[in-house]
Symmetry: C2
Subunit: 412 residues, 2 copies
């Protein structure tokens, strides 16, 4: 049941106690490798697999498939590819080096070598998730990027394979969940050990990612999707209702808060939501995620505080002069300005990755970007150490690191 409120409420999210289950799967995969994988594919996904190779698709197949798709599809896919890549290229910085008389110093930027992207699936497919995971990787170019995904057999399409090829994916393993993720962490006979995993999964996968953090690189711990919409009464409630639904149809855990400084408008919106809900194709899901959502009556000034507190994944600012608010937003994943910027566009093709921090973590995480795919290595080359050794000696004495002191001063 949707509510109209004068004050924010704290939504209690139903996180399942799943840690032990996850740990057992990880342990089994670590010990028994692909035998355990086959076991869990049977147990969890209900598929009997004789050979792991049956769910692995290699680059040559991806290439062949891509070459065969029609020109209309190819044009759309290339357009998305180019747009996203261009966006991420704006963050590019190269390795650099400064040559001074007494010292050369700099930074070497290496790509992370082996990337695995996790693309959710199951009863539907998410081509956009392949784009949005891969596009920031295209700048520093990992040596290899491969994909794991629980997309079911009947849903594997030429489109999925083609998008993967376009985005430089070398291999797809059509299996997801903690069992497949664990193979990627430990490495098995047919699945190489990755250096980093990106992309959101379900609760189980997220829990596993947290356990693996440090053994392997992890992009972020993404939870259910969130949207805050700030609107004034100038935008038709019909439009806001659809934005509201498009957020809630993600899954039953998704949430949306609409904030407006006009109570009449909120009442009208409320009516529209219930009226239009009936004709939404995903109404079953939306009806459940309504429980995580509310409409809020607040002045714009108070709104800013709420946004910075909630640090939402997505923020739509559907008011006149939306730019004015922008500078006050400290914590948020992605921001959509003015009446025309539907959040849906951002999900698919504008530029920033739709892999965005949720659950207040945009206070410290960024949406997936090129820094997730490289590492920065400091470079130091001393030409004349007179100066360096004076300062180093001073500090090393204070720190009681006397071998540091001697190794600093011994060099001529």
């Amino acid at each position: 049941m949707l509510k109209i409120l004068d004050n924010i409420i704290f939504l209690k999210k139903n996180f399942l106690k799943i840690k032990n289950k996850v740990k057992i799967i990880i342990k089994d995969i670590k010990k028994y490798g692909e035998n355990a994988l086959i076991f869990y594919i049977k147990k969890i996904d209900g598929i009997y697999l004789k050979n792991i190779k049956k769910i692995i698709i290699n680059n040559n197949i991806l290439k062949k498939t891509y070459n065969k798709i029609n020109i209309y599809k190819k044009t759309i896919l290339k357009e998305i590819y180019i747009r996203l890549k261009r966006y991420h290229h704006h963050n590019f910085i190269n390795s650099w080096q400064i040559n001074k008389k007494d010292i050369i110093y700099g930074q070497k930027i290496n790509s992370i070598e082996k990337i695995c992207i996790y693309v959710p699936g199951g009863n539907t497919i998410y081509p956009s998730s392949i784009f949005m995971n891969c596009s920031p990787s295209l700048i520093y170019k990992p040596k290899t990027i491969f994909m794991i995904s629980p997309i079911k057999n009947g849903l594997i399409s030429n489109l999925i394979l083609s998008i993967s090829y376009l985005n430089n994916i070398k291999k797809i393993i059509f299996s997801g969940g903690v069992h497949t993720l664990s193979c990627v962490v430990f490495g098995t006979k047919n699945i190489i050990k990755a250096d980093k995993i990106t992309g959101p999964g379900n609760y189980f996968v997220t829990k596993a990612k947290k356990i693996f953090f440090g053994n392997i690189g992890i992009d972020m711990l993404a939870g259910p999707s969130e949207l805050i919409i700030i609107c004034d009464s100038k935008i038709h409630p019909y439009i806001i209702s659809l934005d509201f639904f498009s957020q809630l149809e993600h899954d039953i855990y998704a949430s949306c808060i609409v904030i407006c400084n006009n109570k009449k408008y909120l009442n009208l919106l409320y009516k529209y939501i219930y009226k239009l809900l009936k004709i939404q194709k995903n109404k079953k899901i939306i009806f459940k995620s309504l429980n995580n959502s509310f409409l809020l009556f607040k002045t714009i000034i108070n709104t800013i505080e709420i946004i910075n507190f909630f640090s939402p994944e997505h923020l739509m600012i559907c008011i006149k002069n939306s730019n004015k608010i922008l500078k006050y937003i400290k914590n948020c994943g992605a921001i959509f300005l003015n009446y025309k910027s539907s959040e849906s566009y951002g999900d698919y093709m504008i530029g920033p990755s739709h892999v965005i921090p949720t659950n207040k973590t945009s206070k410290f995480f960024s949406s997936l970007n090129i820094n997730d795919f490289c590492k920065k290595i400091g470079i130091i080359k001393i030409i004349n150490n007179n100066y360096s050794k004076n300062i180093s000696s001073y500090i090393s004495k204070i720190e009681h690191f006397f071998s540091h002191l001697y190794s600093s001063i011994i060099r001529k």
Copy 2:
């Protein structure tokens, strides 16, 4: 006992099973706040504290102390400050925005607002750790940065306070460990909740950081310090011995591998190490960390493979034409080139942070840098949505997100 080997060995690190202890402390702090902190300061640190405020030093005291130190100290500290800040500034990119006819898109870069740095301490002080944690934060400037550190009362010096002031630290809490860290995560009466924690601690602190990852931002999970030295026979073994000791004196878990393509040289180095060990002031520590170290006889080509496998925190390349090897190094934290570049200089004042990934994690982590102190927020503003809605509709249909579809096409 140090060994000279023809093949690499895998050092088994003694990670203690400490997770349960850590969890109990976290639980207590979460439940009882500063009362539990006082309890653990008594239990773990052996200090009876009546009032938390006694271990908190505020900005005005820091400022006063800094103003009082002599000009000689001030000059050295400022020199380090400027050098480090200048290094990190090379990575600066600003918020950006692209204005096209149909769309404005860009990226807003916000500093992470509340940063807590963890500076190790105990029986000695590490002024360099304050510099090296703070310097990358100076570019995007967090709203507040404060420090927690287990430096003992008698060791708190004007130097520590002055360096903190110079590096923009607003408050110091002279208490460390999991108990203090937990206060920073949950927020207590006198300790604000941070958005992110940086800096290495002991095993317990690192375990806690892993547990907190996702609730709060974590820079990396740093383990014991590591150094690989590649040398030829042109550098005196006396010098390499001192570099070796300066690595091993960090703590009993530190490790160093020296690789050379000349077995005679390694034998000579071996003798030097045992001869000079006796006169090292920290010989007790070094004697223990010798167990984590070895000398390795390998050709240069084979060396590269070993480095990329071990992905060491520090790498010294003490050979002629050290630059030639550089391009083959994929995984490493920081690299020191040529005979003159003692790793010790990098610890103190050259530029890159000495907070560097260890234990093979430089495959995916970078040393502490300005990206650890900011977050990137995507900005989207649609002016004309004809184009966007075509592509969005195409993908949203495939994904069965029909409310996405309607919200895309409804806008004129």
